[in-house]
Subunit: 419 residues, 2 copies
């Protein structure tokens, strides 16, 4: 994509009315725009990152047998009454229709997916079953001050698993922990993300969160460095400040943000809906459930929080809006400038033909080289390529990794192969 | 995909509480599920079709310079007050937050996109600009009885164009008409879809709808068969029952559903937001706007309405959930059955390797051949392939087009090439 055609522009300064680092950076670099507190628009650059996260999650969910559906956000009061959450769920947005009915905006979808699965699951032969969606969620938050880490509207993957018994759920639950770490690895969050024991509610002892260390986190976790797991502050007292795995008492406290959360629901939602199946012996049994949440917009915001420096964003390759940021340095000499432009266009075409995603800063006129470099750092693509009179003297482009300071000249003929 | 693993099942009979043909068929075949009146879940088969329509629209929008973003559904009252639509827009869902603010669920996004574009457009150099999204919309409909043709929640592509003057808008408006017909062609609706003159409101004489002929349509249009255009009933009187193009008085009335709608907004939304640009002479001028809507879920429902027979759905190739429905006919003889299974598995793998999307009815046991054929017809993939003892005697599979009655035997070695 040519930067000259991209309608968004970077801002000289971060917006002053925004407190969170993620939203300040993402707004300044032109990835998101704030409509109102806790509600954001994804601009072209941000949407590219979001789609990449979405594709990674979809790939990994499909690998473990997930079947993708799309449930609505507008949900009738009756299903929430069945589980008692119409009254009990504080963060539910409630609204009235001109049809004299009341609705809630889906903050989570157990109340929708259970009656749905119930239409198709009758026997043990129909289990296990894994259904997921990637969809817009709404939460009526009192305060929204963490940018896209906690929005009133946000995008989430929610998978619901259905099993014949708890042993089968346990196995899937463990497999999904690995899948989650695979996703966080691909999104560049692996080294700061801990499997964290959290409260389980009345149906199971613990739930598990995936917590990423960042000063912007709203949670506090206690890390066992030998086991590489953590405990959420809310239950660390119950565990006598010990690692639930090895009993280690030297837990290290840190601030973290919950990027994923998995629950053993057991029969919490099967019971109120009377969701049962017939086992091999002909006996009616309740369906056992798990649920596996992962916030896409929150992952995006978390990457912005943990991967930036004072010049801007630093995207991991697999979710970067573009792999290459190609910068043309114009020359005041018309002939030299034409040569630079021709060479840049050729490199742009060749990279694209080679399947490499390129953001091409082809701006001329008032934009200085310093501004171009500052924008490249702010937007944060993994590789910056520079074409100038000086690099062309050696039939080369200058290549710089966003995470390193050194630059190297690479022959134009080799550039597509070397990236 | 293997039918044995797909969690949805076809229903023996269409749901009795559903009036519309599209929802009855799509529910019976397992494409959608009804949560409540006007609110549906897209099941795996339905989501596949929806994603294909989405990709077609995205491709065509990108070709005409559209830049994709994603705006939120939750929108603050203030922006709707700026245009006067908080009070005037009947179908707006209004709700309150615990933050003591009022919100509307986006039924359309002029109020969001104008202040957004305003942040980036200052001069004639920033125009024209085309921004679009593919996103969930909400309308507080009094009645919802047309299945996914008119939902309370639905998926829409909305593109907003910004121009320096009306001549530039006119040019783009004409180009977009062609693009829309290209989209309807790819979705299999071209031959029944008419560009239809409709009321324009206070800012332009006409708007234009794309109306597809179907008895399920809620609109009545008057078709000029020589010009292949139509007039919506709401303005046919103002036009003295004549074709606005050639003056033909023999217009043919028919029922139709609006699958797309394009408007010249001119300054209807630029004015209230004070959205202006500076022209080449340094003069401040209002930005001229167009808007271009297209309902994805409505296109899907319309295809179901106009492309079905008494056996089920008949998908056009480009948006079919799968190109091939592969049916194995089991044999009571164990040895023969093993041979059939092996051959079917091989064909399934080869078709997939060849990039052909296959729904593989690998069900054994209680499912009869008649049930398998009935499901293939109901689901409506373009090609049905049958592997049986009889076809294998000739090293062949039987190929049948969903739209034709004749069947032919194709050598297994040629099947991937011949599809």
């Amino acid at each position: 994509m040519r930067l000259s055609t991209l309608f968004t522009k970077t801002l000289k300064e971060a917006p002053k009315d925004e407190l969170s680092v993620n939203a300040r950076l993402l707004m300044q670099a032109g990835f998101i725009d704030k409509l109102t507190a806790g509600v954001y628009t994804f601009l072209p650059l941000g949407l590219r990152v979001l789609k990449k996260i979405e594709n990674i999650i979809r790939e990994e969910m499909n690998k473990v047998g997930g079947q993708e559906i799309l449930m609505p956000a507008l949900t009738p009061k009756s299903i929430w009454e069945t589980t008692g959450r119409w009254a009990a769920f504080d963060a539910l947005f409630r609204l009235a229709g001109t049809d004299n009915k009341e609705y809630a905006l889906g903050a989570t979808h157990e109340e929708v997916v259970v009656p749905l699965a119930q239409k198709y699951v009758f026997s043990y032969k129909d289990l296990p079953l894994y259904i997921y969606q990637i969809q817009d969620k709404f939460r009526n938050e009192k305060r929204a001050k963490s940018g896209i880490l906690r929005g009133r509207e946000f995008i989430m993957k929610d998978l619901y698993s259905f099993h014949t018994d708890e042993a089968d759920l346990d196995e899937y639950y463990k497999a999904m922990q690995k899948v989650y770490f695979k996703i966080f690895e691909r999104c560049g969050l692996l080294d700061k993300t801990y499997l964290t024991f959290a409260s389980g509610g009345s149906f199971s002892k613990y739930s598990h969160e995936f917590q990423t260390i960042t000063p912007a986190g709203e949670d506090e976790i206690y890390i066992c460095e030998s086991c590489q797991i953590a405990v959420n502050k809310e239950i660390v007292g119950d565990l006598e400040n010990k690692c639930p795995n090895c009993g280690n008492k030297n837990l290290k406290a840190d601030k973290a943000i919950e990027v994923g959360n998995i629950f053993k629901l057991i029969t919490k939602f099967s019971d109120p809906f009377g969701f049962s199946y017939v086992d091999e012996g002909g006996n009616k049994k309740p369906v056992i459930m798990g649920c596996f949440g992962l916030g896409l917009s929150r992952v995006l915001g978390t990457v912005a929080e943990v991967r930036h420096d004072d010049r801007g964003l630093v995207w991991p390759k697999e979710i970067a809006p573009f792999t290459v940021h190609l910068v043309t340095i114009n020359s005041p000499d018309i002939e030299a400038n034409n040569k630079i432009k021709l060479a840049s266009e050729k490199i742009y075409r060749e990279l694209q033909t080679g399947g490499i995603e390129v953001l091409f800063d082809d701006r001329e006129g008032e934009t200085s080289t310093g501004e171009k470099f500052a924008d490249a750092d702010l937007i944060g693509c993994p590789l910056r390529l520079v074409v100038s009179e000086r690099t062309l003297e050696q039939d080369s482009v200058e290549v710089k990794n966003r995470e390193e300071e050194n630059k190297e000249l690479v022959k134009i003929s080799r550039v597509t192969h070397n990236i």
